[in-house]
């Protein structure tokens, strides 16, 4: 399938029925709305990152993964650079992490984005529910600001 190469691919992950786990899809929707007229941005939100996303990654100039983090302090917004890495045992079937997806993109399509970042928001709760915890609610302005800045840099090729 021929894909048009986006300048910036956003790949969000999370379940909107599991409280803070839904922050990834929420931020993806925010970005899609904020940059609605921007042709160079492609936004995909999934409950899980699956191997077939490797093709999307391989055919993007830059990729920004968005996910909640169970390890970070609740509400902590962080962005880190991601490199391809070997798969973790037990994964590699239904869902993958960002580094493993980069590995698949490189191995399958011999191509990687020039830049790959992971934006995370520390989860306060992943219980059943459609509302964010207080720490994550408080973190949303910071997350949106960082997201906007990162996307603008990617679109301008300054990442």
């Amino acid at each position: 399938m021929a894909l048009t190469m986006p300048r910036c691919l956003i790949l969000a992950c999370g379940n909107t029925l599991r409280s803070d786990d839904g922050i990834g899809p929420w931020l993806a929707e925010w970005a899609e709305d904020r940059f609605r007229s921007e042709a160079g941005l492609r936004v995909l939100a999934r409950q899980q990152w699956t191997p077939e996303l490797a093709e999307e990654i391989a055919h993007s100039e830059s990729v920004l993964f968005i996910d909640c983090s169970a390890e970070s302090a609740p509400g902590l917004v962080a962005i880190i650079e991601i490199q391809p890495s070997a798969p973790t045992p037990g994964l590699a079937t239904h869902h993958l992490g960002a580094p493993e997806l980069l590995t698949l993109a490189r191995e399958l399509y011999d191509s990687l984005p020039r830049n790959a970042l992971l934006l995370t928001v520390g989860a306060g709760s992943i219980e059943l529910g459609e509302e964010f915890s207080e720490p994550v609610l408080d973190a949303i302005p910071r997350a949106c600001s960082l997201l906007e800045h990162t996307i603008l840099q990617s679109l301008r090729g300054q990442d």
Binding site: Q47, P87, G90
Partner: protein
């Protein structure tokens, strides 16, 4: 002293389950079970909901085959409404179901099974995954990814969402197909044909190296059941059910959804939350049967599409009567992918597929309805009762995995008895026991996702529960 070997959870499955192997004092396998350890409860908590909500509610059962639940549920609702849906709606649903079958079979073959098939049952477990496949056979890795995308993209084009779409509703579908979308699907077909051709060639090349596994992977006589058309060709969405015996003779035919419960019963075992379906006239467990790709290809006389027809003829050469080894589920899956691609092309070539009349409207005209369809893993049946206001008062779902349950358990026992000798086992031995289950591609549950990593823990337990040995990977 007797021992129990536990494989918990079994990896590379849709959902969570475990296997226990009971050894006797001489270290021989006495019994083995495949346990489904999840509880769902959809039949219970749908009670009180309006019947027209059922398709979208039931689609949440599974993230891999929501389309099958949508279709079986919608058909049950249409039985309550007493309506016949427009021809174009039926054809659009057929495309949707085939697209789902293609992507689900691709997931099963390329992501879950091919690590065993391409890298070997004894290969390094750390590399026995889709990454290992990609490293060893990148062209097959790309083919698998592309076939998954092919099926998912069609679902997304038709129903706007690739998982849990709401486009299928009681009475038909919510909107017709646009010409641009039809053309986009048609443009994807050449690549899909090339990819399944590659996979079939690769499978045939390696299958001959698995003769020992073919011999003991749930390789026994059984009954088989699937939907079939009146012309005896394969069918996933409409038609009626046929049951054949171990020799291929027709035991029962023309089983409509409304008569499903007259022919099929469900037994309960104390070691699993999944029921055990059986053919009522033979009782339980004698009436146990298999469903899914192997059953479908054993039952049908024709595929109805030229390339798949040739593959069916080759498949039928594997045995005099029904093909008995469940290892051949893998083969059958690939033949069905080819069929799915061809059938989608056939249906889209009909100009009527763009017709705008795609939904029939009606209210409650009957207080009970049932619908059936072929999910990727086998026959699926939804049966509902409603009150006069259309609120659900009772629901029963018979899923493919329950219908294969007895065969899976017997298959685990057969493989364990063959491979576990003198109470000794290796990782490769246990992987083969797991691989028996993977051949069936059971779908235990996909709607509750694990948060984190699922390790495989194998424990040797004494009769009083003491852990004698443990392997974790």
């Amino acid at each position: 002293m007797s021992q129990t070997i536990t494989i918990d959870p079994v990896t590379r499955l849709e959902g969570h389950g475990k296997i226990t192997i009971q050894l006797n004092g001489q270290g021989e396998v006495e019994d083995a079970h495949f346990h489904v350890t999840q509880v769902r409860g959809f039949e219970r908590f749908s009670q009180g909901r309006p019947f027209y909500e059922m398709p979208s509610l039931m689609a949440r059962i599974c993230g891999i085959c929501p389309v099958s639940h949508l279709i079986a549920s919608a058909k049950a609702c249409e039985a309550i409404m007493s309506v016949r849906i427009p021809h174009t709606a039926a054809q659009l649903r057929r495309i949707l179901n085939l697209a789902q079958m293609v992507q689900s079979h691709a997931l099963s073959f390329f992501y879950l099974a091919s690590p065993d098939l391409l890298l070997g049952m004894e290969s390094d477990p750390a590399a026995r995954n889709v990454f290992g496949v990609v490293a060893a056979k990148p062209e097959l890795g790309r083919a698998g990814v592309a076939l998954r995308r092919f099926g998912q993209h069609i679902i997304e084009l038709l129903a706007n969402k690739r998982i849990h779409p709401g486009w299928v509703v009681p009475g038909g579908v919510t909107e017709p197909l646009a010409a641009a979308k039809r053309d986009e699907i048609l443009a994807m077909l050449p690549e899909a044909y090339a990819n399944i051709g590659l996979a079939l060639a690769a499978y045939k090349q390696i299958a001959s190296t698995f003769k020992p596994e073919i011999e003991v992977f749930a390789n026994f006589p059984s009954l088989y059941m699937s939907l079939i058309n009146e012309d005896e060709s394969i069918e996933f969405t409409d038609g009626a059910l046929r049951m054949i015996d171990a020799q291929g003779n027709i035991l029962d035919d023309g089983i409509t959804a409304g008569k499903f419960s007259e022919s099929i019963g469900e037994a309960v075992e104390n070691y699993s939350y999944t029921k055990f379906a059986y053919y009522k006239p033979l009782g339980y467990p004698q009436g146990s049967y298999r469903v899914g790709p192997l059953a479908r290809l054993n039952i049908v006389k024709s595929m109805g599409t030229p390339k798949a027809e040739d593959e069916l003829a080759e498949f039928k050469q594997l045995a005099q009567g029904p093909v008995e080894s469940s290892f051949y589920y893998h083969h059958a899956r690939l033949v069905e992918i080819l069929y799915g691609i061809e059938k989608i092309e056939q249906i889209l070539s009909d100009p009527l597929i763009l017709d705008k009349h795609v939904r029939a409207i009606a209210g409650v005209n009957r207080l009970e309805g049932a619908g059936q369809a072929e999910a990727p893993r086998g026959t699926l049946m939804h049966n509902y009762k409603v009150d006069e206001n259309g609120l659900i008062t009772w629901a029963n779902l018979v899923i493919a995995t329950g219908q294969n349950n007895n065969a899976m358990n017997n298959g685990v026992l057969q493989a364990a008895r063959h491979y576990v000798k003198d109470g000794k086992f290796t990782e490769g031995v246990l992987n083969r026991v797991e691989a028996v289950i993977r051949a069936f591609d059971p779908c235990l549950s996909c709607s509750s996702h694990a948060f984190g990593q699922m390790p495989l823990v194998l424990s040797l337990l004494s009769p009083d529960g003491e852990v004698l040995d443990q392997v974790i990977r």
